[in-house]
């Protein structure tokens, strides 16, 4: 028996929502970052599932570009977190309120 498309999309939606909840509720900047990675992975799953069910390689090609952007984002983001930690001795986003009005 074959797995239907909605099963893949359902898992993808679930992982994406878990990522959204993580970004909205956690205070540790590193865990917020990991939640963003979770969301990117969820979208990649959708791309690959659609690619398989439509017999078109474009979805998989796009996954590579998503991965490249994710890598760039992680490199710059972790460097920013390191710089913040060096200056403020914290990665708690609730305490980083310098730009807050």
């Amino acid at each position: 028996m074959h797995v239907p498309l909605w099963a893949y999309l359902g898992l993808s939606a679930f992982l994406f929502v878990v990522g959204v909840i993580g970004v909205a509720t956690r205070r540790n900047a590193l865990i917020i970052f990991m939640s963003i990675e979770l969301m990117l992975n969820a979208v990649n799953l959708s791309f690959v599932a659609f690619s398989r069910f439509h017999n078109s390689m474009e979805g998989q090609i796009f996954v590579f570009f998503v991965m490249a952007v994710a890598t760039a984002e992680v490199a710059v983001g972790l460097a920013i977190i390191l710089a913040i930690h060096r200056n403020r001795e914290t990665v708690d986003v609730a305490e980083l309120n310098l730009l807050k009005w």
Binding site: L11, R26, N28, L45, V63, E73, V74
Partner: protein, 167 residues
Amino acid sequence: MEIVIFAGMAVVAAASGVLVIAQRHAVYSALFLIITMGALAGIYVTLAAHFVWAVQILVYAGAIMVLFVFVIMLLNLPREEVRWAAFDARRIRVAAILGAGLLGELILMLIHGGAHGAAELSPGFGTTEVVGRLLFTQYLFPFEVTSIILLVAIVGAMVLAKGHYGK
């Protein structure tokens, strides 16, 4: 058989995905995120995306997560006493409502559009050869732009992480 493999992988991915955001220490989050990515890689195999599977393991579970664990070790963070933002639970309630709404919306979408049957695969679907051919012919320009993005990211990360700039 296929559905058993998918169900197992999906349960592992979903459970460890939830555990990623429920940990007090970022190291445990990183480890559960690696498990999630591994399970997703297994699902990619059932979707005939062999090259994406390899890249998922190498780049995501390998390179990106090593970078995460490296930074976590470097920061040497204490165990979090207050896990969630603003423990008066107001923000958590808002996030739960918005998350449930988003999930419901997505489920509604895939009830309407998710009944698509699997197409017959063309030969060589998802193999390295086909992916490479597409990347170096039809998608050559985006591929080259990607290299510039990575170059900018490397330079930016070095400038930001080096510190004591302006001296």
